[in-house]
Symmetry: C2
Subunit: 489 residues, 2 copies
Amino acid sequence: MNFKRSFSVMNKNSIPKCVQEAEYAVRGAVAIRAGEIKKEIKEGKKFKFEKLVPMHSGNPQALGQPPITFGREVLSIMTHHQLGQSVDFGRYSKDAVDRAKYYYDNMDPQALGAYAGHTSGYDGVKNDVVDFIKRRDNIEINPANLFLSTGASECIEIFIRLLISEASDGIMIPIPNYPLYSASIILNGGTQVPYFLDESNNWALNIENIEKSYKAARDKGVKVKGIAVLNPGNPTGQVIKKENLKEILQFAHENKMVVLADEVYQANIYGDHKFYSMHSVMEELGDPIKSNLELVSMHSISKGFTGECGLRGGYFEFVNIDKFAQEMIYKLKSMKFCAPTPGMIAVGTMVNPPREGHNSKEAVDLYNKEKDTILSGMSRRADMLYKLLNKMEGITTNPTEGALYSFAKLHLPKKFIKEAEDMGRHPDMHFCLQLVEETGMITVPGSGFGQEEGTSHIRMTNLIYNDDLMDESMDRMHNMVKELHEKYS
Amino acid sequence: MNFKRSFSVMNKNSIPKCVQEAEYAVRGAVAIRAGEIKKEIKEGKKFKFEKLVPMHSGNPQALGQPPITFGREVLSIMTHHQLGQSVDFGRYSKDAVDRAKYYYDNMDPQALGAYAGHTSGYDGVKNDVVDFIKRRDNIEINPANLFLSTGASECIEIFIRLLISEASDGIMIPIPNYPLYSASIILNGGTQVPYFLDESNNWALNIENIEKSYKAARDKGVKVKGIAVLNPGNPTGQVIKKENLKEILQFAHENKMVVLADEVYQANIYGDHKFYSMHSVMEELGDPIKSNLELVSMHSISKGFTGECGLRGGYFEFVNIDKFAQEMIYKLKSMKFCAPTPGMIAVGTMVNPPREGHNSKEAVDLYNKEKDTILSGMSRRADMLYKLLNKMEGITTNPTEGALYSFAKLHLPKKFIKEAEDMGRHPDMHFCLQLVEETGMITVPGSGFGQEEGTSHIRMTNLIYNDDLMDESMDRMHNMVKELHEKYS
């Protein structure tokens, strides 16, 4: 029966323009092509590689990074507990058993399979976050200003929704930026107000750039209501200096903006760099900023060294948010019920890991060993990427100070650029598509993050846990780049 | 230091009206008051009850329902597996070990802590859903038309976003309806087109009502693009007859609407009623409907008898959706990465439980016993609620055919209604607030779901697992209602 369809309701003519225009490059054309290649390999088609290498997404366990034992032990016990059987706790460390009991005593209802009684999540885990911020910043936050979330993305979604009432409402975002910000602003019908990071100065944040961009937007009638600050930067990997953070806070206060502090990479700091939370810097600045400025700070279990992306967990903490606005946050969050319960527990074990004076020496030692192995590996590979990419023809990159990425500049041959443009592709998209075809390496083109007009970039993660695969992949890329330059020069 | 704030960016004047107007009653004023009561009990304040009874939300494990052993065994093994230790599988059933292996072999990447490689979720679980639909409906669906999701709520959010481009775009929703529909339509700036269910006919769906409501909306210039059908109904608990489903499909086809089939309660069917999936009825109707009509069907691990709300999992399956619209679905879903991985695994064990011919007799028997205990308990309590509520003064209710709720009509004394109105409250909100204060029973006022002007209702779940608590609670409610009528008559 070959019936021909006579109509459709949802199509290119009817789907809202804002949905059509939003772009989320991390799972865009390159990732989609990779999915097809995977199928083709299964069907027997030959490529120059046997397996794809997913370097497009900050997804550590996809590349072999193991989970932290303590966190998974606690989760295992809590998953068991509910079976109502006598569980043999012998195989778990006492530290993990104690912690699981603590969470059970401080969760409502006492069932991992129930929605949390309060939209903001379990008290036991929230207390852990309060203590974590106290240790990190010496600031005692009010647990009422804290929500456990489904990763940081949910927080971005909620706050951008609250900030944008009409098309002239704008939010400042760095360029390059993590594309969830630009996509969410477009989806909510607002205006992106880009501020450029300084590539020639290791992607530093330059307050004059920010002020210039703000004034230009204001002159065009944009009401700038918020500024997103990603520290460490994604995709750019810079760690923002304290003086810079002060400048941003002063600027945001002076111009009455909400600060969205995306601090999900706060544990991924390499070399001598140091992370300062926006909240701590605000506290240091004192009044009027301390008591006036509206700040939201996000954290996540997906990044850092826990890398528990699949469990979906995170938190956001806010400062100086009006009671009415808090009610709206509660309502929007309630429409999604609560964060996934395994993700909430994982937030607890991330911010409150085995610690000296609180846990057994064995648990502390194991945790430290696992943490150091992961972080030193990331640091080493960030350095490798920096060196190896800079050796490749037509590629330059800054050292990675933090986060999980290298964001390298591609100096592509004119002929290659012409070919890309003839195909209606950005040159860096054309490059990344060739890269996945030739080497299996899945990456994200710089055009997906925003960049200076006329430039091309590529984002790659420093997450290949297996050293041989890392070496091999970089070799393959080196050859591909060499051949590309020979072919198109 | 008593610094006084001099400004705020996010407040009642600036937050978008659509956010302010959206209402999600399930976690509204009554649940918020219950949270305060809980604190007050902790602080020593005396109430007539010792513990709150959460009957406001379809949250079975919050009221003592145990999880299904097989599902939790598989999840336990999969959480362990990654520790890289030698796991003693002895304590798990062989069936669960085999299933965990199957999911590991059919997930990409092979790590519970990674984002799923494809936005739509794990192949192994998707295959289970394909088989489930084949068994249920004798329809072979294309796995490309299937997305694993963070519960059904995510699907509602995505499709309402796709359907609403401007204020005149409308979506038909039943009244009473599950308030996530109305809230999402308001948030996206569209128009609700209500169709009333017939309370006097056990909340039946009446096609004349639907047509009348559609014409009235169209005459006002509303472009009606979709219709939400909740089967079994929430909060109304009716199971829609096959003839009715046919009428809806014909109506939707004739008037070019997308059908959003919310079928999350398909396993909660009591008495002799029978559930027919919208997809199967569409297939039965044949062309042109079968090949033209755009349909989305949702399911969830939160309801049924698994009740794994906290894990956050579900799926949606669509039919006749344009390729371009599919790309938009993929993009919106990608902005949230993937569904929580434990939730995905739980979808698999829900749709593919231990079955005769596929699993050991022990596993099948245990599963059937657990399932029957839970479902027969729900059915028994639904009947109890029906009988006990109808015995109370000024309360009438229909029998519950399916889902997890009684939605009872409150015939309240005039003086009580006057008092409520003087306080600026809907009378049923006033009733539910008094109920929680007097008995600890948390419920949802009918006004949160929409209802005929001038009527009052209350939604209560049939989920109290403990019979003594059920009896006690209903006794307390009985007394409270009696006293209320004495006081206000």
